[in-house]
Symmetry: C2
Subunit: 196 residues, 2 copies
Amino acid sequence: MSETLERLVGEFAKLPGIGRKTAQRLALYILKSGGDEARSLAAALIDLKEKARPCRECSNITEEELCGVCSDTRRDTTRILVVEEISDLMAVEATREYKGLYHVLMGAISPIDGIGPDDTTAGKLVERVKRGGVEEVILATNPNLRGEATALYITGALKPYKVKVTRIAYGMPMGGALEYADSGTLIKSLEGRREV
Amino acid sequence: MSETLERLVGEFAKLPGIGRKTAQRLALYILKSGGDEARSLAAALIDLKEKARPCRECSNITEEELCGVCSDTRRDTTRILVVEEISDLMAVEATREYKGLYHVLMGAISPIDGIGPDDTTAGKLVERVKRGGVEEVILATNPNLRGEATALYITGALKPYKVKVTRIAYGMPMGGALEYADSGTLIKSLEGRREV
């Protein structure tokens, strides 16, 4: 294989979920496409790394001091939804249902991996609450060990402040079938039952 | 979503087989990764478009006048294997069985789509044969309408020259099961039967 093609294949193959076969297909596509396509992808890559940075308040991605959510005056500033990653924030935003603010932890606490609270933005969340004006902190960390540890830590850290801390519901996914649900989900679903 | 992130997602989503969800995952990965990763992918993209070009002889990709195969003095120059795309050449090379030269058509003839012989490098193949020294031209176009039309055209165009024209075998794939084979494959397989 030619050197430049081999190199691009290697670079594509470094991306998550992209195997060598797919990487080769992508590189050959770039080779056949007009130069503009390669140039605009290259420019977008460089631009993201050079211009994007974490929002001063919530750590969401932005090109300004404050992200699009934090600078939107129509948002309900009394509620903060806490997520692990920007991709989680994007998933919630895509529902167009939530109108409050966010806080992106940029990770989850995992003592077993040596990842403590200071490796996340948990401290900044406490500062935001301390400053006042926040009535509810909604914990939307993932339903796994790390997410649970993180939720537990934040609940403790926010204890001294007059703020309601809630956790999103875990249970049967919509459209799911009981017979195929794992027992962890079924247990959460039973625990979270409500009177009808 | 931030503007720079949105742009990179859009660029990734232009690639074949990459949907918006995957594009978003890739862009977020780039965002989290060190700047080197984005820069080296960007550089590889630009480099491929600026340095890679078709081999003067066979149209394989190269950074020089002649590709790695054509400039390799150990190759058997009496045989030319004709393929539609560079990816086909790469698939044959990966077998490490074929020791002759190649000719990449850069497409296939398709009258219904208005793609004629002049939209491929078929003319250059005829010139190569005309120059002499070639004893066999092996047609390895795809087993579909376009590939058949292309093979037929080349066979005709090479008629005036003293060269053997062969076609690779089509039949049951190794490991395939007769009961699941499509009838086109079974017919080709029967037609191509040999005495044992």
